[in-house]
Symmetry: C2
Subunit: 341 residues, 2 copies
DNA sequence: GTGAAAGCGCTAACAA
DNA sequence: TTGTTAGCGCTTTCAC
């Protein structure tokens, strides 16, 4: 499968040159006689030698690794993000570390501290730390944020708000006059922005729109909101994200509330499972993979040049995907639904 | 957020001792006077110092990092595996690298070669390399495999075969007399083993059982098998994994074949989405998270002790989860189904 | 209990 | 074009 660990000295003595020549032949062949380069290369492959990143780090200060920090790997949204990030990292010859902070600010802090020692920079997906902390960190260590804008920190956003406005258009077109937004957790930077987009669109359509408060971005979080929604007067709900929306679907089904007959549901992210769910989820589709690619690209540019990337804030387009969880508003408003307790 | 890179010398001169003392105070405090240890610790936190893994690697040869190699991060089965692995890694103070080989044997080989330089060992989920390659690699570099047994390589299996036998019992109990197995890809070590378990159980029940050949373990792979299945005579299908099964559900629905009325479908893994699908998927549930934990634990034991772990082959129990994609066999055998083309 | 010194694998001045 | 040398941050003998 592969030979053992050879050092630069092994190659040097095999070829009969000094270690320095080996180093140069491999890293900067233009400085070395073509014939020598050839012999060194041969011997290196022969012995299975390649320079150790750790030893190299001593000089260059570069580990050629980046860290991807995720709040919750359980959310399939991050699957595509991870893959996109890995593509870019591999393309640039970087190794990728992965860290799941489990929605904990403290874990995020700890892992970031550790990352500074082991990698040259980090992509932070939906970071939880304060703007101030992140801006400060960004001065000391190259970071790029995904789905959160912070002054002084390059970022990539999946541009969901316009698509959410389109979702409101869609619902209004179906005759809904009263919609609700199931908010994400307090720490989710994007949640109030999604709410804004929804509210503005609702105002434009002159329809009612209420905010149902903060809920965990989990299946359970969505499911637990079902009774409140069933008891409420809205005929359509837009959830902060798909995982929540899917949980809500489950919760409503358990309560015997028909979707979309009695209530329409819209999600956000178009995760694995959204299309397969019953009813299939109307949602906002944007490429998390592309976001991962762009973020990693920006990060590597930042690492390589030592300055902020030229395009500091990028975004990835998103659009509404209409499936079967949305339908015409029920004729008579709340019928057969539970009363608030 | 955090101070800059301090070296051991900074701490040494801050405290007024030699770098050697700092090193000892932090790594082997029992060799140093308690008072000194205290002062060193204080200064270290003060300066935000912690020893660099890279520099330490020069001596110890250890990077305190492990690599998790996955064939396809797109499969949600791996979400839980990643999380379990990360828990154990973090607990033991290891950093986790992540690599997605995209089902390519060559990428697996390349990444593994790279991993040897950057990490102390690797967990390989469903590796594609040959037994010989893996056994040889295992001599040179600590690896642990998940869901594949190879002589000389410690492994962790999610023990799905008994649960698949239970699935056959379940189907037989529902009156199915003719079932089929939708195979995974050729490279999937587990596929023939699952088939074996199913076949034996079918024989025990004296029911027919056919193998539908190899199919990609993707939504698309499952969906494309739908026509063949709709045209066949089996009244129940067990798929190699859930992703395939969910694709199959989608394909059958597109063909207008009712599940479970006309055909029952069983998956394997109980991934995110299996429960939410329509109909909700009867499947085999085992803890991928636990498998990730055990594998990482075994790997770290192997790294730390330098020998194979005591329990070389471990397994995680799995059980049948009955949902609504399975139901009584249709009365009159294939009715209303398409003919083979 | 602590310090001095050597060396891990590699790169980058500087010489030759 | 190539070799010599020093040194990156840390650990570990070996003295003291």
């Amino acid at each position: 499968m592969a030979p053992t660990r050879a050092t630069i000295h092994d190659v040097a003595s095999a070829v009969g040159v000094s270690p320095a020549t080996v180093s140069r032949a491999l890293a900067r062949p233009e400085l070395v006689a073509a014939a020598t380069v050839e012999r060194v290369r041969l011997a290196a492959t022969e012995l299975g030698y390649s320079p150790s990143p750790q030893a190299r780090w001593l000089h260059t200060g570069m580990s050629e690794a980046i860290t991807l920090v995720l709040p919750d790997i359980t959310n399939p949204f991050f699957l595509d993000l991870i893959r996109g990030a890995q593509h870019e990292a591999a393309r640039a010859g970087y190794t990728q570390m992965l860290v799941d902070t489990e929605e904990s600010t403290e874990q995020e802090r700890t892992h970031l501290l550790a990352a500074r020692k082991t990698s040259d920079g980090a992509v932070l997906a939906g970071p939880r730390l304060s703007d101030a902390d992140l801006a400060e960190l960004s001065q000391l260590y190259p970071i790029v944020s995904v789905n959160r804008r912070i002054r002084g920190v390059p970022s990539v956003l999946v541009d969901t708000p316009p698509a959410l406005a389109a979702a409101v258009d869609h619902l209004a077109g179906l005759g809904h006059r009263r919609i609700a937004y199931l908010g994400g957790p307090e720490s989710a930077w994007f949640s109030p922005r999604r709410w804004q987009a929804i509210k503005s669109a609702a105002i434009r359509h002159k329809i009612d729109c209420e905010h149902l408060g903060a809920h965990p971005p989990t299946l359970d979080g969505g499911q637990r909101a079902a009774p409140q929604i069933a008891a409420g007067r809205a005929t359509a709900v837009i959830a902060y994200n798909d995982v929540q929306a899917l949980g809500l679907l489950r919760g409503l089904s358990a309560l015997g509330v028909g979707v979309p007959d009695q209530i329409s549901v819209v999600g956000c992210d178009d995760v694995f499972g959204a299309e397969l769910a019953y009813p299939s989820l109307t949602t906002v589709t944007g490429s998390a993979e592309r976001a991962g690619e762009l973020a990693t690209q920006a990060l590597i540019e930042r690492i390589a040049t030592g300055r902020l990337p030229r395009r500091q804030n990028r975004s990835v387009p998103a659009e509404l995907t209409i499936r079967t969880s949305t339908g015409p508003a029920p004729r008579s408003v709340p019928h057969g639904r539970r009363q608030p307790r």
